[in-house]
Assembly symmetry: C2
Homo-oligomer: 228 residues x 2
Amino acid sequence: MSTHDSSYFQVALSTSLVVYGFDGENLLTLIGQKPQEPYKGAPMLPTTMVKPDQSVEDAAAAVLTESLGLSDYYLEQLNAFSKLYRKPEGRVVNIAHYSLIKHELMERKPAAGYQWIRPKEMPDLVYDHNQIFDFAQERLKRRVKHRPIGFRLLPKEFSFNQIHLLYEQTLGKKLDKRNFHKKLMRSKLLIDEHKAEKMDGSNKPSHLYSFNEKRYNKLNLRGYDFKF
Amino acid sequence: MSTHDSSYFQVALSTSLVVYGFDGENLLTLIGQKPQEPYKGAPMLPTTMVKPDQSVEDAAAAVLTESLGLSDYYLEQLNAFSKLYRKPEGRVVNIAHYSLIKHELMERKPAAGYQWIRPKEMPDLVYDHNQIFDFAQERLKRRVKHRPIGFRLLPKEFSFNQIHLLYEQTLGKKLDKRNFHKKLMRSKLLIDEHKAEKMDGSNKPSHLYSFNEKRYNKLNLRGYDFKF
DNA sequence: ACTCATAAGTGTAAATATTACACTAAGTTA
DNA sequence: TAACTTAGTGTAATATTTACACTTATGAGT
């Protein structure tokens, strides 16, 4: 390995984010628009170039600040997408991330050019962004099965039906209500708040739960098999 | 996102590999040596710089060719390690990979400066290579639990004790022999070759198995929970 | 050829988890 | 007050997990 050759130092870094949120009923993901020609306005993942003296995480965080005005976020690296796929200026390597946004922070409108959409309605994106998105979807599915990650998306107090909807949408399949309930309760992740509240578009008030952070941290560390 | 600024194009790419093999008794991993001052000769992961017009996978494959003389390999990206951690020439981003080597290819001696060691005996490595190695260890554990990945390391025909040893070493814990046997058999991944052979350092000849590729491919795709 | 040492190979019972499945309860609306 | 909508709940059959110890086949030494 020889780095004594400045010809190696010709690559630029970017980072694209797959951002997930839950509005109380639906799992959503954030898309932006290409700011410049060619294909100005075409849908793309929220993306930024990484400055040579900037950490990739900082660059990713800056995207969240710009698009959603957030400084509180969960961020995880997905993969480096490094196809030899070029701009006129040279090679760009995209170190993609995914991010989970707390429900409480979902009320603000995204900045101009950004919008929340349902993952199923993801349009064709520029560059290899659809590949990045698919990668994120797989990662999210795996995470939600093996870690109690859903709680990063839910409100502090949530109904059983909300967590049920979230897991169904994340995994992309129906989950039997009673069996899901049983499994959640067995996990002891939920704290019964002993109160009920009418949810939007509901009739009978829903029982509220919060989640047990201590136990969450244990399971998050050890890993866990929800096995849905 | 503006890339119309050539000042972004100042980064170099490298790739480090965590290579695993199984010699019939032990899970092994490959270390190299730093070829240049400072710290010339210090242990490091097998690593190369990526040429600006080279795919990262090609660069990683070249490391395997150089160190082990292999052109047949399994390679998977781990993560980009992009700490702002510099050479005099600028920033280097390491897109690390891990690789699994078939047992049949383990007989050749590694090239000068490379050697197989047990993962538990991994020494202090240069740069952030220990962090990369730890990341690989976690990935390997997860993979071995959720995919029938062990078969990429084993000989074509192997004994129950070999796969048992491999899984114990990969997961870093004892696995009850009878329960492990039961689970493997239930998975229907093993084909009984109906013959026995005395293994090295053994007495009673061991029953040989090969593995069912069709079923392997199915499970590899779907994912699988060994749940050890 | 017999004894000893070594690694291979095998089964069962108890506890827990998974799956499939349909009705009642509480409150809203017309 | 009847009709509608969503919330909430249990059971039985099957499958999986766990804990646990002895027998078998061979090689080595006498």
